[in-house]
């Protein structure tokens, strides 16, 4: 759930980058920044999925309200 929120935020930032690149006088830099943001989002999703799988192994649920220890 939190991950989907992060993806939404990154997407909205991307829309801003591309829109300003279109209507401002910046050339293609904005589109390139959006590309970098997409790549960062991919890396972040991979790492986060690994963390989520580890958490599931430890707590057998992924409800973030009930996860309160880093180590057992």
């Amino acid at each position: 759930m939190v991950l989907m929120g992060i993806e939404l935020i990154l997407n909205s930032a991307n829309i801003n980058f591309v829109a300003f690149a279109r209507y401002g006088n910046f050339g293609n830099s904005g589109q390139l920044t959006a590309l970098f943001v997409i790549i960062l989002a991919a890396a972040e999703a991979a790492i986060a999925m690994a963390i989520v799988l580890n958490i599931y192994k430890m707590f057998t649920n992924i409800n973030i309200d009930e996860i309160d220890t880093l180590k057992d």
């Binding site: 759930m1 991950l3 989907m4 929120g5 993806e7 939404l8 997407n11 991307n14 829309i15 591309v18 829109a19 690149a21 279109r22 209507y23 401002g24 006088n25 050339g27 293609n28 830099s29 589109q31 390139l32 959006a34 590309l35 970098f36 997409i38 790549i39 960062l40 989002a41 991919a42 890396a43 972040e44 999703a45 991979a46 790492i47 999925m49 690994a50 963390i51 989520v52 799988l53 580890n54 599931y56 649920n61 992924i62 409800n63 309200d65």
Partner: protein
């Protein structure tokens, strides 16, 4: 109201509407599927902004990779019978105040700024410009992001194996 405007509002409606459902729905699988519509809407907006390469990358990476990864995680970590997740609304008053302040200041800035726009030119394709920029002006960032992806890959693999 030209055709461009109508298509823009259609895509914006799809994006914002399904983003709302992503956040509010309680079944996490449904949220993931509404995220799909949001990502498609954003890709359509990119096409309208004549960022064709970004739109294709958005479709390939987000819809093809990230969303599949998210669904994979959801399916792996939930018994399908109890996919309901509790979305707590404990902090609703402070968050509402914060959102209102943020929205007010954003609208204020938006209305008070003297927006300068360049006359729109029809670009054929942005791929060539992006490639030139990527390998000249932004080559360091390009290398850095390659290294970062490699580190993320190794880290994710080693973390998932433990």
């Amino acid at each position: 109201m030209t055709v461009y405007d109508i298509i823009f509002y259609l895509f914006a409606l799809i994006t914002v509407g399904s983003a709302f459902f992503v956040v509010t729905l309680r079944n996490i699988v449904y949220s993931a599927f509404f995220l799909l519509f949001t990502l498609f809407g954003v890709a359509g907006l990119f096409v309208l902004l004549s960022a064709d390469f970004i739109a294709v990358v958005q479709l390939v990476i987000y819809v093809g990779a990230i969303l599949v990864l998210l669904l994979f995680g959801v399916m792996l970590t939930h018994n399908i019978t109890q996919v309901q997740i509790k979305t707590g609304t404990l902090q609703i008053i402070p968050s509402a105040i914060a959102v209102l302040i943020l929205a007010f200041s954003l609208i204020k800035i938006f209305l008070n700024t003297n927006w300068k726009t360049v006359p729109l030119t029809v670009q054929s394709s942005s791929v060539e410009g992006l490639g030139v920029l990527l390998l000249n002006q932004y080559s360091v960032v390009f290398e850095l992001i390659g290294i970062l992806l490699l580190i993320a890959l190794i880290g994710a693999a080693s973390m998932a194996r433990r």
